[in-house]
């Protein structure tokens, strides 16, 4: 590696090397961010089509036409897949993690910049491949984001299960490879590129969250990749890993002896850690923002680190709770149930510590802080329904109902997205050198918070009333018809919430070019990214290697001249 000065001098000049195939982790982070932003609007649009169809099943929509039941299932599949992989996994880790992990540990770049670039462009290819599934014969697959076999393993099982499903699996396999490259880079960077004095226990909690997420990704995506290869073989080479003796449209398929449960085990061994891959970075950002805007050190730093580590550890032990209804042994279900509830302990530790951080703080209610508080709110609201679903007895009633949809959207979907919003409003000044509009930020926050609760809280009632998920039409079933007013309410809420996101996008792009110039440290924060120029130079610290003397959250330190001590301040600044 070159010295800082030479790195500084070797700033790429050409457009292609600077902005397209850049090796700079900051540019790659922004590329990931905008890829996820594009993906989230695609996913959101698909969800809007679903909500419209649920309430007005016969509606003929411009450019879309009438939504048939199989089209509804395709929308559902693509919404889930795009949101989970290309939004919830891409933006928090690939986007913000890429941009800020090296800066927060005092490194000039990621450990393997070329691998980093490859990781982004591989993800991009994966996104293009999955979008292509919309345009091939038969359209997009209809087996849901979980891709349960044998539906996903038989090309003749339905429209979209032909080439569309092959593209879906290929896209996920490509995404796995990209994520593995990214995870390898994150782990090596964190372990090996920290600045002098940046001990592990001085790392910001954001860095811890990206680091643990990378470990989860490293161990989980390989399993999904294997599962995907087996699925492709079943579909195209005539093997019988997942497919038993089945009859489709009166014809006996050539498979026999395979186990659909084998897919479920492999998928959920990846799938449950994936939940934490999505939410852990949000936890890190919430910790960072809550401490900064409460002007208080994070409550129980070490407990927060150990809680994240134990959440990651338990995340690999609980996949079976997605399969209580699959006929598994009650003893297994009992074990998975106990282990699942164990995750409640570190989760509660984190929640109490966030509240403890805010307690008696001099809170600055700026937009990033609002979103961090919103994150905690959604994490609690979504998390509390987890112990219900963790009970096999209750799960018999609640499985495959809207209760589950409400639960995972609040805890994994919207909470993680609130983490991303907090991160965007918090780090925007550092990334783009300008401030976002505060007033529109607040408007966006309150509309989004109210809107998401209005969409997803009623789902719990729907589920308890027996409202099944994945049905494209409820108008033909008498007891489900009675629930239609709730569906209508949720659809109206979805309209308003999605409309509110355009406020965010306008604020983002307007502020990028017209927002007031940001100072180097507008939030008076302590971590290393706020010690460097805004936006940071190519080598992050302008030829200087930072030396860290303090912990990451030293606010309101008695004896210090300011109410915060930056990580690279002289060691003696706060001695008293």
């Amino acid at each position: 590696m070159a010295t800082p000065a030479s790195v500084h001098a070797h700033t790429p000049q050409g457009f292609i090397r600077k902005y397209i195939f850049s090796l700079d982790h900051k540019v790659i982070g922004i590329q990931y961010f905008f890829l996820a932003l594009t993906a989230v609007f695609v996913g959101m649009f698909l969800s809007l089509l679903m909500r419209i169809h649920l309430v007005w099943p016969a509606a003929v929509l411009p450019f879309v036409g009438e939504i048939k039941p199989e089209t509804y299932l395709s929308l559902l599949t693509m919404h889930g897949t795009i949101m989970v992989f290309f939004v919830l996994t891409t933006a928090p880790q690939g986007g913000f993690g890429n941009y800020f992990l090296p800066i927060q540990i005092g490194a000039p770049d990621m450990a393997f910049p070329v691998l980093n670039m490859l990781s982004f462009w591989t993800t991009f290819v994966g996104f293009v491949v999955i979008l292509a599934a919309f345009f091939v014969t038969g359209g997009a697959p209809l087996h849901g984001w979980t891709g349960y076999a044998p539906l996903s393993a038989l090309p003749s099982a339905g429209p979209g299960e032909g080439l569309g499903a092959d593209l879906w699996i290929t896209s996920i396999a490509i995404f796995c490879v990209a994520s593995l490259m990214g995870a390898l880079n994150f782990i090596t960077t964190t372990l090996d590129l920290r600045a002098k004095g940046m001990t592990m226990m001085r790392m910001p909690l954001t860095v811890w969250s990206w680091f643990i997420t990378a470990i989860l990704g490293l161990l989980a995506f390989g399993v999904l990749l294997s599962a995907g290869i087996l699925l492709l073989m079943d579909r195209n080479l005539g093997t019988s890993f997942y497919v038993p003796l089945v009859v489709v449209n009166g014809q006996i398929m050539g498979h026999k002896g395979g186990s659909p449960l084998l897919w479920q085990h492999l998928f959920w061994f990846f799938g449950h850690p994936e939940v934490y891959i999505a939410i852990l970075p949000g936890m890190g950002v919430a910790s960072q923002v809550l401490s900064t805007f409460s002007r208080k050190p994070i409550f129980g730093y070490r407990a927060m680190v150990y809680a994240m580590l134990s959440i990651g550890f338990f995340g690999f032990m609980v996949w079976g709770h997605h399969m209580f209804m699959s006929g598994m042994s009650p003893y297994s279900a009992f074990a998975f149930s106990i282990l699942t509830m164990c995750i409640g302990v570190p989760s509660a530790i984190k929640t109490f510590n966030w509240l403890g951080t805010m307690y008696k703080g001099r809170i600055r209610f700026q937009t990033p802080m609002l979103y961090a508080i919103g994150f905690v709110s959604l994490f609690v609201s979504g998390g509390l329904s987890g112990p219900f679903l963790a009970q096999p007895v209750l799960d018999i009633q609640l499985h495959d109902t809207y209760f589950v949809v409400g639960h995972f959207h609040l805890i994994m979907g919207v909470a993680a997205i609130f983490g991303m919003f907090a991160a965007t409003y918090y780090w925007f000044p550092k990334m783009f050198g300008r401030m976002m509009n505060e007033t529109w930020g607040r408007v966006h926050f309150f509309l989004t918070l109210a809107g998401t609760y209005a969409i997803f809280m009623p789902m719990h009632y729907l589920g308890m009333a027996g409202g099944t998920r994945r049905y494209s039409q409820y108008t033909e079933v008498a007891y489900l018809q009675k629930l239609m007013p709730i569906h209508q309410f949720m659809t109206y809420a979805a309209f308003i919430t999605i409309a509110a996101q355009f406020i965010f996008v306008l604020n983002l792009f307007w502020s990028m070019f017209k927002g007031p110039k940001a100072s180097d440290n507008p939030w008076e924060a302590t971590t290393l990214e706020w010690t460097t120029a805004t936006p940071p130079p190519h080598d992050n610290f302008g030829g200087v290697t930072p030396v860290v003397n303090h912990g990451p959250y030293e606010y309101s330190v008695p004896g210090a001249p300011k109410d915060y001590v930056m990580q690279n301040d002289p060691a003696t600044v706060a001695t008293h």
Binding site: S6, K196, L230, G257, S259, L266, P297, I298, V557
Partner: protein, 246 residues
């Protein structure tokens, strides 16, 4: 105020009961400090760390395939003729001799790769001495261990190709029975990973041809060597799995 993270000079920071850490306890200088000379030691450490992560991933791939192998092996399927559940795992007549020869070739290649790694390490260690004007270390005997490894690697892949052909000749294809599906799946997945090692080997060989600094070349050779050894161990695992868990 509830809690504080410690605001103490770095020299006073300790981990639990351990003695205080020196200032470079974090990532160290990670190859960035000290003039214009690249820190090859730090680079090597980083590359090895990345390799460990990569190996962990490959292990997870094979652990999940093994899991699928064992689960699928025990699954019954419904037999309409006897109106009962029967085991459909089936048998595969593996070309044992050919696979044993391939194993021997891969193990020998691992030895030659190790010799190449040691030679590269020695050359890197002697590079500073060699650069002193007037100092000569004499003519070293240069044996093309890397080239030998490449040849042995190609031989192994050709041998695997022949083994797949032999399986076809004996009437076993990927969809013949679940056992044969796994034989092809595991051996081909291993071969694909070995191809990655071959590319790394060619990269290492080209580093020599492109006159890259001997220290930089040593890193490439070192990483490739450890990956190659891992491939050999992985093949023995696959071979044992197919042999003993059939």
């Amino acid at each position: 105020m509830s809690t504080y993270s410690p605001t103490t000079p770095i020299d006073h920071v300790g981990h639990g009961h351990k003695p205080p850490l020196p200032p470079a306890a974090g990532g160290g200088d990670d190859g960035r400090g000290g003039g214009d000379v690249p820190n090859y030691g730090a680079r090597l450490r980083r590359a090895r760390l990345g390799l460990i992560c990569g190996i962990a991933t490959v292990c997870m791939v094979f652990v999940s395939l093994t899991s699928a192998y064992l689960v699928r092996q025990g699954l019954p399927t419904f037999d309409g003729a006897s109106n009962s559940y029967v085991r459909d795992w089936g048998r595969v007549d593996l070309p044992w001799l050919l696979l044993a020869i391939n194993t021997a070739i891969l193990l020998v290649s691992s030895v030659s790769m190790e010799l190449a790694r040691r030679k590269a390490a020695l050359q890197a260690a002697l590079a500073p001495v060699r650069s002193i004007p007037g100092v000569s270390l004499g003519n070293e005997r240069s044996f093309p261990w890397l080239g030998i490894t490449v040849l042995l690697g190609i031989s192994f892949l050709v041998g695997q190709w022949l083994a797949w052909g032999e399986l076809h000749a004996r009437g076993f294809f990927v969809d013949t029975n679940p056992n044969s599906s796994f034989v092809f799946l595991l051996t081909i997945t291993h071969a694909v990973h070995l191809c990655g090692g071959m590319i790394a080997l060619l990269w290492a060989a080209s580093a020599s041809l492109l006159h890259k600094p001997v220290e930089a070349r040593r890193i490439v050779v070192d990483i490739t060597a450890w990956y190659w050894h891992f491939m050999a161990v992985l093949w023995i695992y696959v071979f044992a799995l197919l042999g003993f868990a059939k």
